[in-house]
């Protein structure tokens, strides 16, 4: 059991439950919205887990994770919208996006991982914001603020039946239409699962141990002969590739790529929040954090809307409860979490069990 990293049985149980729920999501929660939520959770689990490898295991704070996510997504989107909706375009575009992420990450890493961690955070923030502005300015290529809408190969279309029933219509299994969208969902799910297991494997490998040693005491790791900058650059590049792959998946799923879905500062805040809620340096936390926050994003806004309506006559309260003020409450929750709950859900549960 200990081979799979830290985490008590209750944490593992929660993660397992989320995994099963995601696997069966199209059947358990039929409808358009739940499957969107489930696919988003899958993509964000990869995104957040790779970020956790960076911040939680290596102690490197980067604000460029959405940029890499965006590179993967835009690579796929641009290729698909510039040519036909072929498999070749999808693969080439995705591969180019991932490659661009890797090259950029290694460049940034070599340039600025030499200096102090806090400097690195500033540099990545600056680079990521330029990427965001570039994406909205180069509208010929990226569609600007409006983003790109495109078709994926026909196999993923809701109009494509996977097989036919006796009457020649799209077959149904437990009442759910077996169409291209189901196939697309399972592509996202299994790819995400594979990437997540790969990340989990890295954290329990000798590499993971070295990374923790560097995080705990950089000078000592250096003295022991580990080339700290090389390790950090490697991890930065690796997590950038993971984020870009998540971006490819998201681009395939949404058939739309724009600044708001991939590059924006709000997505970066979401990732940070998910890592902190779930628990930094645990990997399990990525699953819990992504699931909790994505659900909250889809369903809590409705609650806020209702609350704002109910308090309509009062001063200031409706303005504060307006669903557009979502980010205000997220920010406050974030600050309080970092103060009082820095270990997150996974860390706190594990610690509580260890104490018994």
């Amino acid at each position: 059991m200990t081979k799979l990293g830290p985490g008590g049985w209750s944490v593992r149980l929660i993660v397992l439950a989320i995994g099963v729920a995601l696997l069966l999501a199209p059947f358990l929660f039929p409808g358009v919205r739940p499957i969107q939520v489930a696919a988003r959770i899958c993509v964000f689990i990869v995104l957040v887990a790779s970020y956790d490898l960076l911040i939680g295991y290596t102690g490197v704070v980067s604000f460029a994770h959405t940029m890499f996510f965006g590179l993967g997504a835009y690579g796929t989107a641009i290729a698909l919208s510039q040519s036909d909706a072929s498999w070749g375009a999808l693969l080439i575009g995705g591969a180019l996006g991932v490659l661009a992420a890797l090259v950029l990450a290694v460049l940034i890493g070599l340039l600025s991982l030499r200096v102090r961690a806090i400097f690195f955070a500033m540099v990545t923030l600056a680079v990521a914001s330029v990427a965001l502005v570039l994406a909205s300015q180069l509208s010929g290529l990226t569609g600007g603020e409006d983003g790109l809408t495109y078709s994926t190969p026909d196999l993923f279309s809701p109009a494509t039946p996977l097989w036919h029933d006796a009457a020649g219509k799209t077959a149904r299994l437990f009442g759910v239409r077996m169409d291209g969208q189901i196939l697309a969902y399972y592509l996202v799910f299994f790819c995400a699962l594979l990437l997540y297991l790969l990340l989990l494997r890295v954290t329990v490998s000798p590499l993971g141990t070295v990374l923790k040693a560097i995080r705990e005491n950089e000078a000592r790791a250096e003295a022991l002969g580990y080339r700290v900058v090389a390790y950090r650059t490697f991890v930065f590049g690796f997590t950038a590739v993971m984020a870009a792959l998540a971006g490819v998946l998201y681009a395939i799923w949404l058939q739309y790529t724009g600044p708001d879905t991939t590059l924006s500062f709000e997505i970066m805040v979401d990732i940070l929040l998910m890592v902190v809620i779930g628990g930094m340096g645990t990997m399990w936390g990525a699953v819990i954090g992504a699931a909790a926050l994505v659900m909250a994003q889809y369903y809590l806004r409705d609650v806020m809307q209702a609350a704002a309506g109910a308090t309509a006559g009062l001063p200031l309260l409706p303005a504060l409860l307006n669903p557009d003020r979502w980010l205000l409450w997220l920010g406050i929750a974030f600050i309080l979490l970092v103060y009082f709950f820095p270990a997150g859900i996974a860390g706190t549960l594990t610690r509580r069990e260890a104490r018994k």
């Binding site: 200096v115 806090i118 974030f334 600050i335």
Partner: protein, 330 residues
């Protein structure tokens, strides 16, 4: 080569960079009248950036605290000043320059006051619990930036706010075929005055001596009998007030401000301190002037590359000097 670098050092070393940049730009632009206009615009922008960035740099130098929420004070100052100016349209439009500048002075004073109060609250509530913990510091101050931006939307609404300029600072000053906006001259004058004030404070007063000593070795300052914590609150409030003043000036310069100004300025402010080096106001001024000048020159020469120019500048400086041009001695 060695001789050349020795000569450069004697002439002022990295301090000459803005001058070199200006001369290269003159050669590329050709027309002196355009060059003068662009240079003044660059200096004005640089001075406003200096106001916004100096506090960040000083706070980092003294306490090893990097406040990712620093530009929230610039945003706060901008909105407070815009509100005050909106209520003083009588004075702003009057034919008396005393009333004109009086209104502006009151608006800037209100911004500075808001910066002082905001800085005090920010230091005691947000920063104090996470001294010495960089990871949580980055996360919490980043959260504070988001919250402050949202609070500005709650108070002032989400749509951009127009900012009135005093009558005397409208229009431009024409000299031959050179035209310089009055507001830019004002920004440069105010920036130079603040820099001079800071310079005197840091180099000619006992408090300044304590700050400089604290940047180098805060433990020893405490062992000599001084409470560095109190000094730090003071510096933090001063830095916040300067950022608010810079924000107020920026508001008048742009004449239209929106709540995401804080997050946008943060990026530029970071580039300034990364280039200049953290901890010294000389470095911050150097970085701010370089960014301001290059932004304006490139904006004229290659409009499409203006944004990337600052990024390229930052990368080049990082390759050459990983800690910036003039970081504080540690």
């Amino acid at each position: 080569m060695n001789q050349l670098s020795a000569t450069m050092t004697r002439l002022g070393g990295v301090n000459l960079l803005p001058l070199i940049v200006a001369l290269v730009a003159l050669a590329l632009i050709g027309a002196p009248s355009i060059w003068i206009t662009l240079t003044v615009a660059g200096l004005a922008m640089g001075m406003m950036l200096f106001l916004m960035a100096s506090g960040l740099s000083l706070v980092f130098g003294l306490m090893d605290v990097l406040n990712f929420g620093h530009s929230a004070f610039a945003s706060l100052g901008a909105f407070v000043a815009a509100t005050v100016l909106a209520h003083m349209s009588g004075w702003l439009g009057a034919d008396s320059w005393v009333l004109n500048l009086g209104a502006l002075a009151i608006a800037i004073a209100a911004a500075v006051g808001a910066g002082l109060i905001g800085g005090f609250l920010f230091e005691t509530v947000i920063i104090r619990p996470v001294y010495r913990d960089h990871l949580r510091q980055i996360l919490i101050t980043m959260g504070a930036l988001i919250v402050s931006e949202q609070l500005i939307i709650v108070v002032w609404g989400g749509s951009p706010l127009p900012v009135a300029r005093p009558k005397i600072l409208q229009g431009a000053f024409i000299w031959g075929d050179v035209s310089i906006e009055n507001y830019r001259i004002f920004a440069v004058v105010l920036g130079v005055m603040v820099y001079a004030g800071l310079y005197v404070l840091l180099n000619r007063t006992r408090v300044g001596l304590l700050i400089r000593a604290g940047v180098e070795n805060r433990e020893m300052v405490e062992a000599l009998g001084f409470r560095i914590g109190r000094l730090f609150i003071g510096v933090f409030m001063l830095g916040s007030a300067l950022a608010a003043m810079g924000g107020a000036m920026w508001a008048g310069y742009q004449q239209l401000i929106s709540p995401d100004m804080g997050a946008k300025m943060m990026i530029v402010v970071f580039i300034v301190v990364i280039i200049g080096g953290l901890g010294s106001i000389e470095g911050t001024l150097l970085g701010a002037l370089l960014v301001g000048l290059i932004d304006n020159y490139v904006g004229f020469l290659l409009p499409k590359a203006a944004l990337a120019s600052n990024m390229v500048l930052m990368m080049v400086i990082l390759m050459w000097r990983p800690n910036g041009l003039r970081p504080a001695a540690k």
